[in-house]
C-alpha cells in the first residue's frame, strides 16, 4: 500500500487489490512528500551550521491492468521535484532538479482464497526499474542503473478487517558515471478496520495503521542522487475513502527510528495523498 521515493517498493499493485476483475484497468495519481533539514550522524542528530537539507516531492502516475485476478501488470511513472542544500569544499550549495524519474514495471502474481466473508491472497511481485530518469548534472534524478525487485506478500481481509504483510528486496544494478546505489529491503505491515460501508451507495472508508521497516546499503561516493544508506522505521495512519470505482487515500508516516550511514540528512516525516479510478 505504501511507497518510498526512488526505492519504490516492488509489491504494490496500484490501488491495492483493485481491480480484481479480468480485463480491468485503473490509474492512480499520487503526490508524495518527504524531507528534512535534520542532519544526522549515525543514529542521532548532529549540528548543522550550514543548513544542510533535502526535500523531495514526487508525483506518481500509476497504472494497472488485470489479466485475471492472479496476474496483473503495473507501471509507475514518477515526476520528481528534488532540492537540497549540500556542501562542496565546506561551502553550502543549493541544488535542485526536476523531471521524469525511473519508471517501475511490476508483475503482481496472486493466489486468492475466498471463504465465506473472508478473502486472502499470497502474492509475489517481480519488478524492474528502468533508468528513464536523467543521470546528468550534479543532482541527477537517476543513477542510470537497471534494478530488479521482488516482493512476497500476504493479505487477509473481511468486510471489517484488513491486514497486509509485505517483504520486499531491490537489487541495484551498476549505474552510469560510476554511481552505485545500495541494495535495499523492507517490511510493510498494514492493519486496520473497514468501519463503514454503504451497500446502496457502494461507498465506505478504511482506517489503517502502517508500520514500515526499511534498510538500504550505502551508495558509493560517486552517487549524486538522493539515495542514502541506513535503516528506518516509520509508522502512521492511512485513511481511504472509496465510492464505486473511485478512491481517495491519504497517509502520514512518522519517522519513529532512523540510523544513517555516515552523515546524512534525515528522511523526515512523510506525507502522501492519492486518488485513483478503476474501469
Amino acid at each position: 500500500m505504501l511507497f518510498a521515493s526512488l526505492a519504490t517498493k516492488a509489491h504494490q499493485p496500484v490501488m491495492d487489490m483493485a481491480p480484481r476483475w479480468a480485463g480491468g484497468f485503473g490509474f492512480q495519481l499520487r503526490q508524495q512528500h518527504y524531507g528534512s533539514d535534520d542532519l544526522m550522524r549515525g543514529g542521532g542528530s548532529t549540528q548543522n551550521p550550514l543548513g544542510i537539507e533535502r526535500f523531495v516531492d514526487t508525483t506518481w502516475l500509476e497504472g494497472v491492468y488485470t489479466f485475471d485476478r492472479s496476474i496483473r501488470a503495473t507501471i509507475k511513472i514518477p515526476y520528481l521535484d528534488q532540492r537540497r542544500i549540500t556542501t562542496l569544499n565546506g561551502i553550502a550549495r543549493r541544488q535542485q532538479n526536476r523531471g521524469i524519474g525511473d519508471v517501475v514495471l511490476g508483475l503482481p502474481l496472486k493466489r486468492y482464497k475466498n471463504q465465506g466473508s473472508m478473502t486472502q491472497n499470497w502474492g509475489i511481485t517481480p519488478s524492474i526499474r528502468i533508468p528513464t530518469g536523467s543521470n546528468s548534472g550534479d543532482f541527477p534524478l537517476s543513477d542510470g542503473s537497471w534494478d530488479v525487485g521482488l516482493s512476497v506478500s500476504y493479505a487477509w481481509e473481511n468486510p471489517r478487517i484488513y491486514q497486509l504483510y509485505d517483504l520486499y528486496y531491490w537489487h541495484q544494478g551498476s549505474g552510469k558515471r560510476g554511481m552505485q546505489t545500495g541494495n535495499s529491503w523492507g517490511l510493510d505491515v498494514n492493519v486496520g478496520l473497514h468501519p463503514w460501508h454503504d451497500n446502496d451507495e457502494n461507498t465506505g472508508i478504511f482506517a489503517l495503521w502502517d508500520v514500515s521497516v526499511h534498510h538500504s546499503d550505502s551508495p558509493n561516493a560517486a552517487t549524486l542522487t538522493t539515495a542514502s544508506g541506513g535503516d528506518r522505521i516509520q509508522t502512521g495512519p492511512v485513511l481511504v475513502y472509496y465510492r464505486d470505482s473511485f478512491m481517495v487515500r491519504a497517509e502520514f508516516k512518522l519517522l519513529l527510528h532512523e540510523r544513517v550511514d555516515g552523515t546524512s540528512t534525515s528522511r523526515g516525516n512523510e506525507f502522501s495523498v492519492a486518488f485513483g479510478v478503476a474501469f
Binding site: 483493485a18 476483475w21 486468492y112 465465506g116 465506505g204
Partner: protein, 129 residues
Amino acid sequence: MRMMELLSNSAFNRHMSAVTKLIAVALMLLVVPAFASDYVIRVHGMVCSFCAQGVTKKISKLSFIDRSKYTKGVKVEIESQKVTIAVKQDQHLDIAALFKAIKSGGYDPVDVWTVTATGEIDKPIEYQP
C-alpha cells in the same frame, strides 16, 4: 409494472367488470409473481466497494439481466456476501453464464436462490457447475 399499466388502461377499464378485474389480477399474480425475476447468489470473498464494482460490472453485461433495477440490475451486500440480480421477465436465468461472470469478476459464487414476492430468500436452485 405491466400489470399496473394494464389496469390503468382506459379501454381495459371500460370492458371489464370489477369481478372480472379481480379474477384477471389473481391470474396475473399466479402466472407472473412480482419478484419472480429476482435471484440471490451467495458469493464468497467480497469485502469492499471495488469488489462490488467488479461483480456488478461483469454480471450487468449478461444479456438476461434487467439493468433497470438496482445498480445496472445488480445489488451487492458485502457483509452478508449476497448478490441480488434482476432478470428480465422474458428471459431465463443462465446460471453457468452467471457463475462464469462472477468468477471473471474475481470472486467465488456458491449457490443461487429464488426470491419470494415479498423479497425474501426462498429456495436454492439445483446447479452443478
